[in-house]
């Protein structure tokens, strides 16, 4: 069965919520889809024990109040075709036909392999924050956070609020870079306030600069972590280690839709024009998918994309100055939280890089390209479809990211055979239509 809508928004974080709201404000029919059970995305992730920030509560309340905005939780896109997507929801599939599409697919953490990173108890920093908000037993646990960027502080504050004993936050960036970053904050008063609030909430927690996790040790779970800094190597006993090196845009769905990607540093992002339209007519993208920008960028870009998708170009255009200001802050982060080469050299020959297929770094040596390595070692062929190892290998400089359209094959996520069977000829149909579209567009 095909269900029609005017504007389809994928992702219900700050960008997606803003897009859905903006589009719905013009009276068109909007469908908002997200994998999670609650709206909010990662930064506004629903917390089962604590209340959400005021901005998040307001955004969700506004979404629920709109009768022309249909909220579809715990659903994900598994395949695409021009003007249509196939969605899997609670084991069932449905096809949604859209007039315009807004991709608000957000970002994921950059996770780099190091000895012991596969041990239970080692996770991403934002990951542990998300898990904790959803009931993960963290009270009384000794946690060490490491990696780079402001997310480490936000994560530490959440963990502490839930009763964790935060042993230390290890930031790989050197002192000088952090001071220079702080000295810029006055231009964004909101950020300055946020930083001050975090500092208060983290009073007493050691913030170690120029230090990073070298290895984690344990048997069936992590017991100890090895920290490296100018002082040498130190071993610290702990229950959980949360390591994140910043964020990387989620571009798989955009790639499958045929949207052009471009490189932002080492990783791809969705290419958009001033109106936030991708290279595919009627498909817009907003927020982290277009380059890491944080919540302010996500909200303003989401609103712009939502207005534009509903045909209200003037309303979208009016937000351009706000977008520029928000993006200017985002541009600071890669400059001051630049990764040191040490963290890219932590994996040893025996360290597993592909966690799905248990492929060690040494097994990847000697291949001329990623495809050859993949065929011979199965690296990137497991359940995560290369989302974790592919991103890591790109950061390590061992993989050239694909930026050409149609780089990713369906399904977008591993899907039950029953869903594919129910979809009938959908995938065949979408593939042939896509081929036709590519040929007719020539070298676009």
């Amino acid at each position: 069965m095909t269900e029609p809508c005017d504007v389809l928004v994928i992702g219900a974080g700050p960008a997606g919520l803003a897009a859905a709201r903006a589009a719905a404000s013009h009276g068109v029919n909007v469908v908002l889809v997200d994998l999670q059970a609650n709206p909010g995305g990662q930064i506004w992730r629903h917390d089962v024990r604590k209340s959400a920030p005021a901005a998040a509560r307001l955004a969700v309340a506004e979404m629920r109040a709109r009768s022309n905005l249909h909220w579809l939780p715990q659903a994900q896109v598994v395949a695409t075709a021009p003007g249509r997507v196939l969605i899997e929801e609670a084991g069932l599939v449905r096809e949604i036909e859209y007039g315009a599409l807004v991709l608000a697919t957000g970002a994921r953490e950059l996770l780099l392999p190091f000895p012991g990173w596969t041990l239970p108890g080692v996770s991403g920093a934002g990951a542990l924050q998300a898990l904790t908000k959803q009931g993960w037993p963290i009270a009384g646990k000794r946690v060490l956070l490491a990696g780079s960027g402001p997310l480490l502080l936000a994560s530490a504050a959440t963990l502490r609020r839930h009763g964790a004993q935060v042993l230390a936050i290890c930031e790989q960036a050197p002192d000088a870079a952090l001071m220079a970053f702080a000295s810029q904050l006055w231009r964004w008063p909101g950020k300055l306030l946020q930083a001050a609030a975090l500092r208060t909430r983290l009073a007493g927690v050691a913030y170690r600069r120029a230090s990073w996790v070298r290895a984690a040790h344990g048997d069936e779970r992590v017991r100890e972590v090895e920290i490296e800094s100018a002082r040498g190597i130190e071993r610290i006993a702990c229950d959980q280690v949360a390591v994140g090196y910043g964020l990387v845009p989620n571009t798989e769905l955009a790639a499958q839709l045929g949207c052009a990607l471009e490189l932002d540093g080492r990783h791809p992002r969705v290419r958009v024009d001033e109106r936030l339209m991708t290279s595919v007519d009627g498909v817009y993208a907003a927020g982290e998918a277009c380059g890491i920008g944080g919540v302010d960028v996500a909200r303003v870009e989401g609103a712009m994309a939502g207005h534009a998708a509903a045909g209200a170009d003037d309303a979208a255009r009016a937000l351009r100055p706000r977008r520029r200001h928000a993006r200017a802050f985002a541009d600071l982060l890669p400059r001051y939280f630049d990764l040191r080469d040490d963290v890219r050299k932590l994996a040893e020959p025996t360290t597993l890089v592909c966690r799905c297929e248990d492929v060690a770094l040494a097994q990847l040596q000697g291949y001329s390209d990623a495809r050859a390595a993949k065929l011979a070692t199965r690296c990137g062929m497991g359940s995560c479809q290369g989302r974790i190892c592919g991103t890591a290998l790109t950061e390590l400089g061992l993989l050239v990211p694909a930026t050409r359209a149609h780089a990713a094959r369906p399904p977008v996520f591993p899907t039950r055979l029953a869903s594919l069977a129910a979809a009938g000829s959908y995938l065949d149909r979408s593939c042939s239509e896509r081929t036709f579209l590519t040929e007719s567009k020539g070298s676009v």
Binding site: E109, T118, Q134, G135, R221, S383
Partner: protein
């Protein structure tokens, strides 16, 4: 704020979590191990948001469910291991 808990079974052991918690939180009550990798290593959630599939478990007989994106419900039967 709602205070009710839900009770589910992990490998046949009764576990309680706050209402709205995900299955990952319930599995973690038993310790940190979730699945076993191809070579038999113990694994647990890495990304916490439905990308890495390290937290996959079997829920009510359906294999390969990501524990981090499924909300825990009363009476769910969860099995670890692949």
């Amino acid at each position: 704020m709602k205070r009710s808990n839900v009770q589910l079974s992990i490998d046949g052991i009764a576990v309680e979590v706050p209402a709205g918690a995900n299955v990952a939180a319930a599995v973690a009550q038993l310790g940190l191990r979730f699945r076993r990798s191809r070579s038999g290593e113990a694994r647990a959630p890495l990304c916490g948001m439905g990308l890495c599939f390290e937290c996959r478990v079997s829920i009510d007989g359906v294999a390969h469910q990501r524990a981090c994106v499924v909300v825990a419900r009363d009476g769910m039967q969860v099995q670890r291991d692949d």
